[in-house]
Subunit: 763 residues, 2 copies
């Protein structure tokens, strides 16, 4: 009750400034270091919400070791940083957050002193290159601020950002040989020939421009930069590490190794030399652009006109306080750290992908202007359609609408006429399965968040879903399922298509397109075609209609699934759990299925086979570290034992998220794991995006205030909250009891009071 | 006299249309095949004047043979075509004309029938690849039109162009397996890794877009295209010939070998399949852009809205008739062919380098808009400052002014703050010596052709010439010459700098910048510092001031020269031949020097050492095939034996230019050799660009009419012209006798009558 009053008080316009100020400082609860150990794949560096620049230390990045052998550890380095590593190679300007494949790591800067080394060296040989030892004791990782002492050089490195500019502040010792290395070879998931081309122009003694063009995860990607120093360098130079040298012009009219301002090649490292006094700071502003060096320079001048590091840091932290302040919670310090770090991770991507003047590079590699919206990229949709985009519909509806406009621009630019699958920096890599952009579009339309052309959006969904050439769609349409002898993920892809088709149908119904509704609601029943009632699981089928022999419910490989086995994927009918329950055999069998999943003992072999997740990411056989089962804990709501949903949710909240470097049980997956946490800790979850209904679970917060973009405020009050009080006795929305175990988006958006009454005992 | 009347009559507005029409058809005299055999380095294909697209057959292009060995014959293929070759590999869209180094050859198309072959094969193994045998009997090479039968396929190939669009017309036999190969690997001076990246999008069943990004002669160059077929293809595909495959997206969601529309990689060949009836024509329009595929598509739609091949061909030939018609001559058929082919070659480059909407890529790799001018590239200035740009000041002053604006834009974009040396496609390769852009700028300023900011132009010249880091300038300024122990071309570069500095001084005087004049007129005397009076030649000096031992007047290598020996280069004081005469020892010794040069017998070893020129390109020891001596025949004008100038000039005109494939004695050098021909055949020559004075020689035409851009008409009437009547008795300009053996630019631009009286006997 007290906490509820606090919530009320905070919304009161007559509060004194001092009280509000205290509550608006949410940055102290953000611990970017969470997830940087093992498989979280988050990064500790600096960024503003959805920033184009995400500036962070890299501890290692190579896919291949010095001897050219594939580095099996590369997967650890999706975000460039591993908490356990002893050295920092440098600070690069772009990072994916929590992804399961990687790229980026553009433009690594490293300050050094003493003998110039242009080789990064290796972590286990001290001073074998320009990398430096560091200690966590000197490290600060905060929202939009990162600090570390580079012990090998006695240099204090500090980083902050604006949306398009990385701001470095390096405090040097007294030396005649200070260097800043700009490494254009470096990159995350780097390998020979990943760099297609790099280009550098030294415009004058403080300004450098250029670009890095890569292939790989993004097949044809170019990122431009403009970099400026706070004081002129004394000299500079470069080395081309490629065996293939570029043509250097006629008979070497210039010495092109030193102080030569027009450089290009595949494998370039450049350096800039300074003399420094003790404690002297050299600051660097490093702007990015997807368009041109001219665009980068404009971004630099627009966003960071001055040299005040503290002010830039503060502006970014103010942005974070504003964004994080959309949800204010009452909870323990640890829970607040988990919550606000989750919210922070949820607000890192998709990332802004356009210049300050709204120009960006499109999928067609032409330059476009985003007319009336912010263009975004980094769409890890197989992950994020589940809870991240629904979260945005709740607390970032304008941004979500702009993200959809970005997806529609991608569609317009796609010669395949498809919405994005996993798109990044004006490229599509078709990673993972399904066409889940349709879920994001449908969810926004169904929830009336349509700052875009909804009819056109529906057409884009339909065209995408009818592309018979794409990943088994032709087979799916002809047979009602995708045979695994034709497509190795035939079962899970069939299930995902069925769900996506249901989402299209919902959107069509909302938009009064009956023919489309009819077509896709029919397609959405396809999940039935891969259910084998003889084993009680979804199961791989062959082209001849028979189920594939050798069924194994625990194994993913060879069973027709991706990132999930039959135990988890058989529950993937989020669009109709009631029908699923019947398919599995009714109430009793369904509950038993769920109970078994959460309590089974997995053999060691399971973990040997499974990427991405550790034992920490698993409860029984329920795999929280991967996404396909993210809705599963809520499925008890379709039984008479919804208290088990409440129990499981609280268990997952408690065990799968911890406020420590190793606090994530699997990849954060571009915010999806975090979005699950946020919804669940608030007490509800979007089991089937495309539906306006949230399932109620068990909130872990004591209270929450959601400041909605429509001006309404939603108060969540959790009465009798406690570690053991995980069961919900009743829930009241504005005084009316929610007896269905669910609440709708409309109801929440109207604001008011959502009151959970908790108990230590279930019914 | 009769011919003079014809000239007068032509200028009369009361002539009937029929008479004028006959005279305006000059295209029939153009034989693009001239210079395609041996070292002319011209191409036979289609182009409009100064066109961005120069579409021509390639008979071979590789720098390395199939086994990876350097192909010593590659130099022959500067323009992609050698007359003696038995096969055509395909038709590519960009070619240098007459250059001494090469690049380009972008986007090779080849129509074939039968089994699809994606390897070009080799010339000496019939049907070893997609290349085809052809015969000159079926070949037509005309201005803006090229035709050939591809014998291996029974396909008739025809080519024409607009400024930015190549138009192909292929007449097929009846077949179910017609193919058009689009080869993105192919290029002139190709080698492994020359292709940085290539990108293709099949937009629909008739439209393809993409780009080719290369390194090499232009270090960082990207050319975009949009290509459209007159009929839809039945299917298409591609093969990536690189050992390094691109990431193909997640688990091959698509079959990317066939009918997959988004392609990228280093070494791509694509193909498009058709079925054709007997005699069916498939037409292709192929537009280029330096900016984007969007720009290429706009160029395509702007310049070639329809599919009428004949009409596009005719429009281009009309342009040629208009440009060639600026100089109408009376001469023998053979002389007309030589003259108009020379004029044609003179009007091929510099080339337009901007889209129809005036956007282009600058040296800084950003996109700029040419505000009020046409942006040009392909500046082979060491060659073209001598006579080509002076020719433009006479008959293409607006274009020359725009070329200078293009050079000033380059200067603005240059982080080295230098005018172009040898620039191409937004790149600088610093080929050859000197900073001869200053000569081009000075010549225009002195001749009052300043559609640009002349003061700024002077500043650009001064900044360029003061760059101490560039190719020995620091040494030149400190010592007055460039020591050959520091710079292997120290002598010739000193001489060229001295001339260039004189040109800057002339420009400064014209613009009343006395301080600049004083500085540079002093620098212009530096030629004296490399003259060794003990040997009577310009000679290599060492850092200690001594002349380098082992002097050899016939050798280039090791003697401090480039593309010329002491015999030729010692005469390189075009800015002050009178002073040179005295340096060499006065009238008698100077004449003897010149006489010896033109009559000496060279040892065989000379030719073994010399690139670029054959015995055909040499008269005695005078090397016409390279440029440094191009003014030399006119130096007799500074003696009392100017009749020898007349004799030599006529000899050179007769022996160095022939209307046959092997008609050029050396590289046409981007039009410089041709410009020499045009001036000399008209009877005057700009010995020192930057001076308004032309030296009179001996015209080979019988009469000429120059229609000047200022509206004036200059008639040249050569009385008593004849094969043996090479000596000029007197020359009258508008009735006034020119007794100095020279005429000024102003005088010519005022128009009127320039009458040469010829004789078979010299004074």
């Amino acid at each position: 009750m007290r906490r509820y009053l606090v919530g009320l008080l905070l919304s009161c316009p007559f509060l004194s400034a001092g009280q509000q100020a205290t509550e608006t400082q949410l940055v102290p609860y953000v611990k970017p270091i969470i997830g940087t150990q093992r498989m979280g794949h988050t990064f500790p560096g600096a960024t503003v919400p959805f920033g184009m620049v995400q500036l962070s230390p890299d501890t290692d990045t190579l896919s291949y070791d010095a001897d050219g052998h594939y580095n099996p550890d590369v997967y650890k380095y999706c975000a460039g940083y591993q908490y356990g590593d002893p050295t920092i190679v440098g600070f690069s300007h772009t990072h994916f957050s929590g992804t399961g494949h990687s790229d980026l790591g553009d433009f690594l800067l490293m300050p050094t002193v003493g003998t110039l080394r242009l080789n990064p060296g290796v972590a286990n040989v001290p001073r074998s290159g320009f990398r430096s030892a560091y200690r966590h004791a000197t490290e600060v990782a905060a929202a939009n601020y990162y600090k570390v002492k580079l012990d090998d050089y006695n240099i204090l490195a500090e980083l902050t950002t604006t949306a398009r500019v990385g701001f470095h502040q390096y405090t040097f010792p007294k030396t005649d040989s200070a260097h800043v290395i700009l490494d254009l070879m470096s990159g995350i998931y780097n390998y020979e020939d990943k760099n297609v081309w790099t280009f550098v122009r030294v415009e004058n003694d403080t300004l450098i421009t250029g670009y890095r063009q890569t292939t790989g995860w993004a097949r044809t990607r170019t990122l431009y930069f403009a970099m400026t120093f706070s004081k002129p360098f004394d000299g500079y130079g470069s080395r081309n590490f490629s065996g293939k040298q570029v043509y250097r012009g006629f008979w070497g009219k210039f010495n092109q190794d030193d102080n030569f301002p027009e450089l290009a090649g595949r494998q370039l490292r450049t350096y800039f030399n300074f003399k420094t006094e003790e404690g002297e700071q050299i600051k660097i502003k490093f702007a990015l652009s997807p368009v041109s060096t001219e665009g980068a320079l404009k971004n630099l001048r627009t966003e960071t006109p001055g040299w005040d590091f503290e002010s830039v840091k503060q502006q970014g932290q103010d942005l974070w306080n504003k964004e994080l302040g959309k949800i204010k919670i009452e909870a323990s310090r640890a829970d607040k750290e988990n919550f606000y770090t989750a919210l922070y991770h949820a607000f890192i991507s998709p990332t802004i992908y356009m210049d300050a003047d709204s120009r960006y590079k499109g999928l067609d590699q032409n330059i476009h202007t985003a007319d009336g919206f912010t263009n975004y990229t980094t769409f890890s949709l197989w992950d994020t359609y589940r809870a991240l985009h629904p979260l945005f519909n709740l607390v970032q509806p304008s941004r979500n609408s702009d993200m959809i406009r970005s997806m529609l621009a991608h569609y317009d630019q796609s010669t395949l006429h498809m919405l994005p699958i996993w798109s990044n920096s004006a490229n599509e890599n078709w990673c993972m399965t399904g066409y889940h952009a349709v879920s994001v579009l449908a969810d926004a339309v169904v929830k009336d968040n349509t700052g875009f052309d909804a009819q056109k959006a529906l057409d884009a969904c339909v065209t995408t879903a009818r592309n018979r050439r794409y990943d088994g769609i032709g087979l799916y349409l002809d047979k009602g399922y995708i045979p695994v002898d034709r497509n190795r993920t035939g079962v899970s892809t069939t299930l995902e298509y069925a769900y996506d088709d249901w989402a299209i149908a919902q959107m069509a119904r909302k938009l009064n397109r009956t023919d489309i509704y009819d077509e896709f609601i029919k397609r959405s029943l396809s999940y039935r075609h891969v259910f084998d009632s003889t084993v009680g699981f979804m199961r791989a089928r062959l082209s001849d209609g028979s189920f594939k022999p050798g069924f194994d419910a625990l194994t993913t490989s060879g069973q027709g699934f991706i990132e999930g086995n039959a135990w988890n994927y058989s529950l993937f009918v989020p669009q109709d759990p009631a029908a699923l329950k019947e398919l599995i055999g009714g109430e009793q069998k369904f509950v038993r299925y769920l109970d078994t999943l959460f309590t089974m003992h997995l053999p060691d072999a399971f973990f040997a086979e499974t990427e991405d997740i550790t034992r920490d990411g698993i409860i029984g056989g329920y795999v929280h570290g991967n996404e396909p089962a993210h809705h599963v804990a809520y499925l008890y709501n379709w039984t008479r034992q919804s208290w088990k949903t409440q129990e499981r949710v609280r268990m997952i909240l408690k065990h799968q998220y911890r406020n420590s470097p190793d606090g994530l049980g699997g990849n954060d997956d571009a915010g999806q794991m975090s979005a699950w946490y946020i919804f669940s800790s608030l007490g509800f979850y979007p089991v089937a995006p495309g539906s306006p209904v949230y399932q109620l679970g068990s909130p872990s917060v004591k209270a929450a205030t959601l400041q909605l973009e429509n001006g309404n405020t939603l108060f969540i009050d959790v009465r009798n909250q406690g570690e053991r009080n995980v069961y919900v006795q009743k829930v009241l929305l504005n005084g009316r009891e929610l007896k269905q175990g669910s609440v709708t988006h409309d109801e929440l958006m109207k604001g008011g009071k959502l009151v959970f009454h908790m108990s230590a005992r279930h019914p």
